[in-house]
Amino acid sequence: MGAMSFQVVVLAGGGGLSKELFPLVTKDLPKALLPVGNRPLISYLVELLEASYIKDLLVVVASEEAATLVENFISSAFYDRLRVEVVSVPEELETADVLRKISHRLTADDFLVVSGDLMSDIPVGAVAALHRRKDAAVTALLCGRPNLKSSEGSTGASSKDKTKQPVSDIIGLDSSQEHLLFLASSGNVGKELKVRRSLLRIAGNMEIRTDLVDAHLYAFKRVIVQEVLDSRPGIKCIKRDLVPYLIRWQLGLGATPAPASAVSDEGSDPPRAGSVENGAPAVSISGDEVSSLLQRVCSIDPSPFKCCAYVASPGKYCARVNTLQAYGEVNRAIADEMISLTQYEVSSHNNVVHETAVMGSKTTVGPHCMVGEGSQMGDKCKIKRSVVGRHCRIGSNVTIVNSVVMNYVTIDDNCSIQSSVVCSNAHLQERSSLKDCQVGASYVVGANQEYREEALAKKEKSSS
């Protein structure tokens, strides 16, 4: 409710350029519309925002074609509920450049920037409220790192991805856990971590956390951000440049990120923990000048900048669909513990099978599975921990484990799909076998073919 005057910028990505999600995302299927649990990815975010009474959205999509697709979807799905404006920007722009580009559209005092691939149940309104309450320049949403225990069985994750360092952030918070003192993604930090002493000196105490991730949801104070973006053309990326810049700047002005404590401790706290110091002012009282200087130094002009962090309470779900591995995991989670995000009705078998789906004899769909509208399955199929889209035609004796099968996919008899993603309109011919593969849209996997850890896509599609 307090978020009413917030504008929200959703960075929905584009189509095709995202290397991380190749070959899933194409010109015809922008990232925002990637099916997750048989629903377009962006719908989750829009619903999350809606739950916080945020109805004014500015969805930024890279490339015009993709923008049209996204707009079509949103206007058909949410036309009666939300005011959504879809804007297209050139594909190669980095996030901060995108903000510059749309800067003229921002009018509210504060605005939220959120990555369109966020899947979460954290109330966005709480972040906005904290931002307002603290009068912060930026407030970042942080949440606990999803434990990676399930990574081995995850869909579509090839071992290449697993050898990559897990995406993690290095985040510095002060003792109140509310002020952001450091933010870097671990990929941008070398062997050594450098922390400014001045920062420590002012904050006194800083906890460097690696068990938190930046959810890529930021609340910004418009005036400050616009000014910074205008004066600092070097800032290209929100996370890599803009937020660290603001963090630095809040200290550059010599202000204390923990001003409350600095002021009150100088005064007359009741004696407790560290308050032995309170005996000390007697020492420095000798000159009024000294104490006034001390006062000045300790509490000076409240900085216009304050960088805050909203740390989501543990147990909240937060994931970003920005890698193949994450895509697989999110689909698995959506069909499992996060089913509540989808608002589907769960059957007694603990799965979601559309009423129009047809299944042959002895075909089993295990728990934590989804089968979309109008999909047909032959006899003796086995589906485990997988999401099958709409109108798929699946032959007999097909095994689908730990995988995502999108819409209109044809799978012939005796195929086996493990830990893979099969995009729409793909065709798997008889006895083909996939493990840790991604099959692009409309790709045909020949009969008796066996693939492992491969991304299969039509040439002309992947060339973008």
């Binding site: 070398g190 062997k191 450098k194 922390v195 002493r197 105490n205 460097i208 560290g274 000294v290």
Partner: protein, 819 residues
């Protein structure tokens, strides 16, 4: 016992165990009606050829155990004392030992400490060591080993006359050693003595605290049970984060602890002092940055960086700590060497943990500012029960506490017009005359203070004579000082024992004046050594030649100091006595008792802000530079530049070495050694050395008289003939030879283009002189095969030569096969 004896005779046992069970001992006693020692003696007599194992019953109080220990030691050499450690460190009966270092191995309190050890300096009229001992006694420590080094005699005699000797369940054992120069040495001595049997508390004699040790000991011991490597627990206390407050507080440098918040393990210990003070800009920026190993974060969800802490120098140590000191004989300083060493040592994996005290007080007095601050804390009763009105150290006269922390000891003579301001302590036997004002100060016992005197924020010790109209602000005035009328003592001044300040004289701020002459020749030696030497010089019975001229100037002699004509009236005024010590430091203000002058604070603030701006500017340049090099970690650019610098420097150095060999200043043998040294220093490989060497060689050849390329080749040939073998010594491997060729190419295209046309000829020369093998040349050529056209210029030039080589080698191969 009797039974055992029988068994021994029968079975010929080689060990006889006198049981550690009290009952058994009692039984033995009742059986034999002999004292235990006698028992042992008799047994020994009976079984002279047998090694006796005597376990001192640890159920006895510790001091008795020690007695037995010592006594049994005297019985015979073949007697093996065993004090079963595993039994002795049981939780109930063993509350703890402490090692108290009655020497700070530092010199912040000079010149006072030249005459009296720091631990005996009065802190609110009580020697510092008594605060420490009182705290240990009340915290349940049973046995304290007081390690004395400088002024050992004074410390031991103080202990002998103190009440600690007569207190039950608390023993204070002095350990003397003269030749220790650091805390590390002290601990090594203690290890040698073998008196420490379990976990112990390591503190220095200048610690004032009222913290309870029970909990930290318990934590330490429980951790030890789980993890044998958790050898030490360090106590720290929170304080305010701002630098100004640090300095106004204890004058210590800013400290940074990195702690794992879940296990409390210490991961990094960093004090600003060591990082700062270097010149190059890189170092300066480093000084403004804390560099943490990324690996610290590797398997931890979080680490805590605390800069708002103060190290109390109270450590709970396991016996292993002593062993570590013995093993690493270069450990001197507890923090700088030991803690750092332990943290960086990954092989042994010893761990240090931390303990934060909450609510309790603990502080170490390691400089004059800390002295001042702690004094005030005592007066303000933060250290309760160690406060002036509770006479813990010695049964003394009563003391009355008035409002706003005014303490007046009995036996004061105060003129009615005297004004005693807040936060002031006045000792007994002191008389104060009319219209004198005293505020925020500590006045010792037996002082005589005239009229119209102003004393503010100062520490006046015992038996000080202050004449009329003297003004003292924020100064330390030691025992027996005589301030003549109208003298003015400015802030930050230290007047050591028995100094006399003449009439109307003004002692300028931050002066230190002592009757002991400063010894300048020691100025350059190690700081830790300095104090010890100076100290033992004074403590020694025979005064060193330096003191001959001023006989009796030592505090111990107790004589009135004769007026010496040698005192400079410019330093102490007419009729004064004492000489000024120069410290050679301009940051006296940092550690003096005087409050930091406002202009200094302004300076600090300004410097801070400047640094801040600089940093911001630098950050901006790097981040704008980042546009070009996307996704690069922040400071990569800097490092690259550095590396380039380094390699340039390395090349230069090698060339310099080489030219020395050429001019005959150095032998080839030496050059090899020195280049090897450089290689290690710059962390280079042999191929780097070879490359640099070759570069030098080419430069040398090109310097010779040459007009045509033929002459250049001739020169090079000459040089190669002479120095080729030297170069050869760095070519350990084919890769090194390749490197030489690559360097050669680089030289031809960049520094010395004159070589370009003669590349092939020189290459042939290199081959002929056995500097470069044919394999290397062929490998080089084949590597270039796939390069750009521009890369292949030189390969092309040598095409024929290479072809010839290849054919030759093929022939060789064939020949080999045929054979």
């Amino acid at each position: 016992m009797a039974a055992e004896k029988v068994y021994h005779n029968k079975g010929g046992a080689i060990h006889v165990d006198i049981a550690c069970d009290v009952d058994l001992v009692r039984l033995a006693l009742s059986l034999t009606s002999l004292p235990v020692l006698d028992l042992i003696k008799r047994t020994k007599k009976l079984m002279a050829d047998v090694v006796l194992s005597v376990t001192v019953p640890h159920t006895l109080p510790l001091n008795e155990q020690i007695c037995y220990h010592l006594a049994t030691a005297g019985i015979g050499p073949a007697l093996n004392k065993l004090n079963d450690r595993s039994h002795a460190s049981g939780p109930e009966e063993y509350l703890g030992q402490a090692v108290l270092l009655a020497d700070s191995f530092a010199q912040q309190f000079r010149p006072i400490t030249d005459e009296r050890p720091k631990v005996l300096l009065p802190l609110v009229n009580v020697p510092m060591i008594d605060y420490t001992l009182e705290w240990l006694a009340s915290a349940g420590v049973e046995e304290v080993f007081v390690f004395c080094c400088a002024h050992a005699k004074q410390v031991t005699s103080h202990l002998e006359h103190s009440r600690w000797t007569s207190q039950s369940n608390f023993t204070v054992t002095p350990i003397e050693s003269r030749d220790c120069v650091s805390a590390g040495d002290a601990l090594r001595v203690i290890d040698q003595r073998g008196v420490v049997r379990g976990d112990f508390i390591l503190i220095s004699g200048d610690t004032v605290s009222n913290m309870s040790l029970k909990e930290v000991l318990k934590e330490h011991q429980e951790r030890r049970k789980k993890d044998k490597l958790a050898v030490m627990t360090m106590v720290y206390r929170r304080c305010k984060p701002h630098p100004l407050i640090y300095q106004t507080r204890l004058g210590s440098e800013q400290l940074l602890l990195v702690v794992d918040p879940s296990t409390k393990q210490l991961l990094h210990y960093d004090s600003m002092k060591e990082a700062g003070g270097r010149e190059s800009t890189k170092q300066q920026t480093l000084a403004r940055q804390v560099v943490l190993e990324r690996s610290l974060l590797a398997d931890r969800p979080a680490v805590q960086l605390c800069s708002d802490v103060q190290d109390c120098y109270i450590d709970i140590c396991s016996p292993e700590v002593l062993l570590l000191f013995t093993d690493n004989f270069d450990y001197q300083h507890l923090r700088r060497d030991f803690v750092r060493g332990l943290l960086s040592d990954e092989i042994l994996g010893n761990k240090i943990h931390t303990y934060e005290i909450i609510g309790d007080y603990a502080a170490r007095i390691d400089n004059l500012r800390a002295y001042d601050v702690v004094s005030k804390d005592i007066i303000h009763r933060w250290t309760y029960p160690m406060v002036p009105d509770i006479r813990f150290a010695s049964p003394e006269t009563g003391i009355k506490i008035g409002r706003s922390n005014i303490y007046k000891e009995d036996g004061l003579v105060l003129a009615p017009t005297t004004i005693i301001g807040p936060s002031t302590v006045v000792g007994s036997g002191t008389s104060i005359s009319d219209n004198t004002i005293i505020r925020n100060s500590v006045i010792g016992r037996g002082c005589t203070i005239g009229s119209n005197v102003v004393i503010e924020g100062s520490h006046i010790w015992n038996n000080v004579t202050i004449c009329d109209n003297v003004q003292i602000r924020h100064a330390v005035v030691c025992d027996g000082v005589n301030l003549k009328a109208r003298a003015i003592i400015q802030p930050g001044v230290v007047l050591s024992f028995k100094v006399v300040i003449g009439e109307d004289f003004t002692v300028p701020a931050y002066s230190k004046i002592s009757l002991v002459l400063q010894r300048h020749e020691e100025e350059n030696s190690d700081e830790e050594l300095e104090y010890a030497e100076a100290a033992s010089g004074v403590a020694g019975s025979a005064p060193s030649p330096l003191y001959d001229g001023m006989n009796g100037s030592q505090a111990d002699d107790g004589e009135e100091t004769p007026q010496s004509p040698r005192w400079d009236p410019l330093q102490v005024g007419l009729g004064g006595a004492g000489c000024k010590w120069s410290t050679g430091q301009d940051d006296e203000w940092r550690h003096s008792v005087a409050p930091i002058p406002p202009e200094k604070i302004k300076e600090i603030v300004a410097r801070e802000e400047e640094a801040e701006l600089e940093d911001a500017a630098r950050d901006m340049t790097t981040s704008s530079r980042k546009d070009n090099v996307e996704e690069q970690p922040d400071d990569d650019d800097d490092e690259d530049a550095d590396e380039e610098d380094d390699s340039l420097f390395f090349d230069k150095e090698v060339e310099a070495l080489f030219s020395r060999a050429v001019t005959g200043e150095s032998s080839a043998e030496n050059v090899v050694l020195e280049v090897d040294g450089l290689k290690l220093a710059y962390d280079r490989s042999f191929s780097d050395c070879a490359g640099a060497m070759f570069r030098a060689l080419l430069n040398l050849a090109a310097q010779g008289p040459q007009t045509t390329s033929r002459e250049l080749v001739q020169n090079t040939k000459q040089v190669l003939l002479q120095w080729g073998p030297l170069l050869r010594r760095f070519l350990k491997h084919q890769d090194d030879e390749m490197e030489v060729l690559l360097v050669f190419e680089e030289v031809c295209t960049e520094d010395r283009k004159e070589y370009a046309p003669v590349f092939a000829s020189v290459l042939q020369e290199l081959y002929d002189k056995d500097v470069i093998s044919e394999e290397a040349i062929i490998a080089w050529a084949s590597e270039k095969q796939h390069g750009d056209e521009s890369d292949k210029i030189f390969v092309k030039q040598c095409e024929r030569f290479i072809q010839w080589l290849q054919e030759a080698s093929e022939e060789d191969d064939e020949g080999g096969e045929e054979a």
